[in-house]
């Protein structure tokens, strides 16, 4: 009787029979070679006598609960497994990421599909060597697979299949599984990428990463695209941000920090030890580096420590037309922008124009006419509690921050305030 699906727990320990039907040993593990094929089991490892033997997938004639029949005698001893992802050793009991469910799960068992394939993959192939191979279908989590693991070996497999039926299954399709491998070399050899993770919303990705161990965390951020990594990193708990960056090469860490907004970058760097943050700053490009350095000068719980330096200023004599031109040159800032700031020729802050007012004014209107009636600002040394109070009192979305000479130094936005309040 042939099965269409097989569980790894059932596969393990199956007798392996040679061409003449003699028993050679038991199956010890099965392995993918992801560089060759992402889902088809490429090697079967059989233990018999002293050493383990390695069986290539096309040396197998049939696979069923009764055993694995071979059609080839020439087996190689099992030694190097650099390119192998061994199911029993590397996948079972380990944590993987469920892309669809956006969470970290632990692998209890693996479900395979038994497929028939000809020599050339078209049914009864030209050379007539029909054979079975195994494709990973799903990774099993949840109670049903735990039950299977616990009674494995204690009851005959067909009984177990019958007994487990009332328990609802809980599995994740193999396409949606993302393995986490801390070792970069092995990641290359096993063809593991974290591309799929880039489709997850950065906030969800941050939650996932928080559940993993230290090494795995670093590995994920190292292999993600810097922009995605930066977005996800800003959503991670601030203390963890620092430890993640510290575990990376300064060069890669710098790439990520560059993509973060300068105030967040400064917050992370100020959490680190000075020598580490200095290494990262040195690897950064000049422009973002100097911005971040300026911000690092301020105490964390002051307006200076909270503000970012992404803002647009115009001379107080400018018109709406000038403002639109300025906005066109700063497309990358538009997403989080809600005010323009007016300065005099000394750089001193003289007004704030809510962005929305530009749309209803004609191009020649002087910006001064559009500015808010009262100009509210904070000084770099103001305490964060006072800043929060200003936001609450005046229902602000953005608050300009000035230095001692009243020159604009940065801007605090409502999301900075939310972070502060959340941390309390």
């Amino acid at each position: 009787m042939a099965e269409s699906v097989l569980f790894f727990t059932e596969l393990l320990g199956l007798p392996v029979l040679d061409v003449k039907g003699r028993r050679m040993g038991r199956l010890r593990d099965a392995a993918l070679v992801p560089l060759v094929h992402p889902a088809r089991i490429d090697r079967f490892l059989v233990g018999g006598g002293w050493a383990w033997l390695s069986i290539r997938y096309d040396q197998v004639a049939s696979i069923s609960l009764d055993g694995i029949r071979l059609k080839d005698e020439v087996l190689t001893p099992y030694h190097s497994d650099e390119y192998m992802l061994r199911i029993g050793r590397d996948l079972l009991d380990q944590q993987i990421i469920d892309i669809n469910g956006r969470k970290v799960v632990r692998v209890n068992d693996v479900t395979f599909e038994v497929r028939s394939a000809g020599g050339n993959g078209n049914g009864n192939g030209a050379n007539g060597h029909d054979h079975n191979c195994l494709w990973i279908l799903e990774v099993d989590v949840g109670v049903r697979s735990i039950f299977r693991r616990l009674v494995q070996g204690a009851l005959p497999p067909r009984w177990i299949r019958r007994l487990q039926r009332p328990i609802p299954p809980n599995s994740i399709r193999w396409e949606f599984c993302n393995i986490v491998e801390p070792d970069p070399q092995r990641r290359l050899r096993l063809n593991i990428s974290h591309e799929k993770l880039e489709r997850i919303h950065p906030a969800d990705l941050a939650d996932i990463v928080e559940e993993l161990g230290q090494a795995e965390r670093g590995a994920i951020f190292e292999s993600l695209d810097s922009e995605v990594a930066a977005e996800a990193l800003s959503e991670v708990d601030p203390k963890m941000q620092a430890s993640i960056l510290e575990s990376m090469e300064p060069e890669k860490a710098a790439d990520i920090v560059e993509e973060m907004s300068p105030d967040e970058a400064a917050d992370v760097l100020s959490e680190m030890e000075e020598s580490t943050s200095e290494d990262i700053l040195e690897e950064m490009e000049v422009a973002p580096e100097s911005e971040v350095r300026e911000l690092l000068e301020f105490e964390e719980d002051t307006a200076g420590g909270m503000m970012n330096t992404e803002y647009i200023t115009l001379h107080e004599g400018a018109t709406v037309e000038d403002a639109i031109t300025a906005l066109r040159g700063n497309e990358d800032q538009l997403e989080n922008l809600n005010s323009l700031f007016l300065v005099d020729s000394e750089g001193r802050l003289t007004g704030a124009v809510p962005l929305a007012r530009l749309f209803v004014a004609s191009g020649a209107t002087p910006l001064r006419q559009l500015a808010s009636e009262t100009l509210i600002s904070a000084t770099v040394t103001d305490h964060q509690d006072d800043v929060t109070e200003l936001f609450d009192k005046y229902n602000l979305l953005a608050l300009p921050v000035v230095d001692e000479e009243k020159r604009i130094a940065g801007v605090i936005t409502a999301d900075d305030i939310i972070s502060v309040l959340r941390q309390k």
Binding site: D93, K103, R106, V107, N108, L150, L212, G213, Q214, S243
Partner: protein, 411 residues
């Protein structure tokens, strides 16, 4: 100079929590009873064990917090990844059984300490269990940790009551350093009980999880180590004062066995209302404290090890097994205290037997994990450390098995 000191203290306070709390929860209702009994029956004789117990406690706890800081994973996670599902399942089953009886013992502690204040257990226990459930499920970890740290401070009650009793300090000092071994079955049983109650399996799971939860990294670990050592010492200082209080109040008026920690509190009554009140309040605090942490820690360890969703930040639908386990532990633990004639003492003896089986397994796993280069990188145990911890483990195994044996005989 001043600044570096200030930052150092700040960093210390920032990591203060996991180790300190764990070590203190260790003095739960069961622990207090064991110490009281040791003092009431044997006076100052058992004090010498506290120093070796403290050292062993530090060794074991330090390994846990180091593993947590280096790997960012819980102990049950590591056991699962290295030793497979069946082993994990067995360990977790034993852990649930042991902890369930511990929860019972602590609800019994709540009941009997409040009865000293003339509050009926049919009122106090249901109220306490509901309050505990809500504190954890509806509160957040930060606020809970603050409450726990405050609860740790309340252990001072024992130190004060110990002083109020005016025990014989010269004797206490002498016997703290003078090992006394007698070939008396009851005496040896008491010694084993002292050790067994101080180093319990669940603490290792809880501590490591708490270190991970707090996000302590390998770099900050040095401060964390100081905290663990500090916590262990404080725990045993409290134990010292409980023993001394009972020795001074009960043993000096005629050595006798006591049946519960509440009875020990009554024994302090001749030394004034305050000594009595503080001792009872201390018992209440310890019982509530442990009843909060034990069910939570159990639910976390089991779900992590077996791969179920866990965490109080998840909803009931997302993490059903976590919430069910947590709720059942509290409900069953509280309910049995209200059943008249429930064989609680037998249950506790039974739990000591399972504890005796579980503790060696957990300790051996811990040493193997802490020596695994792949997991611990440069933070593996040093050779000296291994020697010391293996000695601890062997002694602990011997004692636990002996205690288990004795408990089976009296079952």
């Amino acid at each position: 100079m001043l600044k570096t000191w200030r930052t150092r203290i700040m960093v210390f306070l920032a990591v203060l929590g996991p180790g300190f709390i764990t070590a203190n929860v260790d003095n739960d209702a069961g622990g207090i009873y064991t110490y009281s009994q040791a003092g009431a029956r044997w006076g100052y004789l058992s004090l010498w064990t506290l120093i070796p117990i403290t050292i062993a406690l530090i060794l074991v706890q330090e390994m846990c917090s180091r593993m947590g800081a280096v790997t960012g994973k819980g102990l049950s996670d590591l056991i699962r990844e290295e030793f497979g599902l069946r082993v994990t399942f067995t360990v977790m089953t034993l852990l649930v059984l042991v902890n369930l009886t511990n929860v019972m013992a602590n609800f019994a502690g709540i009941a009997s300490s409040l009865e000293l204040f003339h509050i009926s257990r049919y009122f106090s226990v249901p109220l306490a269990s509901v309050a505990i459930w809500f504190l954890i499920v509806k509160g957040n970890y930060k606020s809970a940790e603050k409450i726990f740290l405050f609860a740790c401070i309340l252990y001072v009650a024992y130190i004060i009551s110990g002083i109020l009793v005016k025990p014989d300090w010269t004797q206490a000092a002498i016997y703290s350093f003078k090992p006394t071994v007698m070939l008396d079955r009851d005496y040896i049983e008491m010694l084993i009980g002292l050790v067994g109650t101080t180093i319990a399996p669940w603490m290792q799971f809880y501590l490591q999880a708490a270190v991970v939860e707090k996000g302590i990294t390998a770099k900050e670990y040095i401060q964390s180590r100081v905290e663990v050592i500090f916590g262990c010492i404080v725990t045993d200082v409290v134990a010292f004062f409980i023993i001394v209080a009972c020795a001074g109040a009960i043993w000096s008026n005629g050595p006798r066995d006591i049946e519960s920690a509440a009875e020990a509190a009554k024994g302090l009554l001749p030394f004034g209302q305050y000594a009595y009140l503080l001792f009872s309040a201390g018992l209440l605090n310890a019982s509530v404290f442990a009843a909060c942490i034990l069910p939570l820690s159990t639910a976390y360890s089991v779900c992590e090890g077996l791969g179920f969703e866990s965490g109080v930040d998840k909803s009931f639908a997302e993490a059903p097994i976590f919430y069910w386990l947590y709720t059942l532990l509290i409900v069953i633990g509280a309910a049995v205290v209200l059943i008249p004639g429930f064989p609680l003492v037998r249950m506790i003896l039974f739990s000591q037997v399972i504890n005796g089986v579980l503790l060696p397994i957990v300790l051996i796993f811990m040493i193997l994990l802490a020596n695994n280069q792949r997991i611990m990188q440069e933070w593996v145990n040093s050779r000296f450390y291994n020697l010391a911890s293996w000695i601890t483990v062997v002694v602990m195994i011997g004692l636990s098995l002996a205690l288990a044996g004795i408990s089976i005989r009296s079952l």
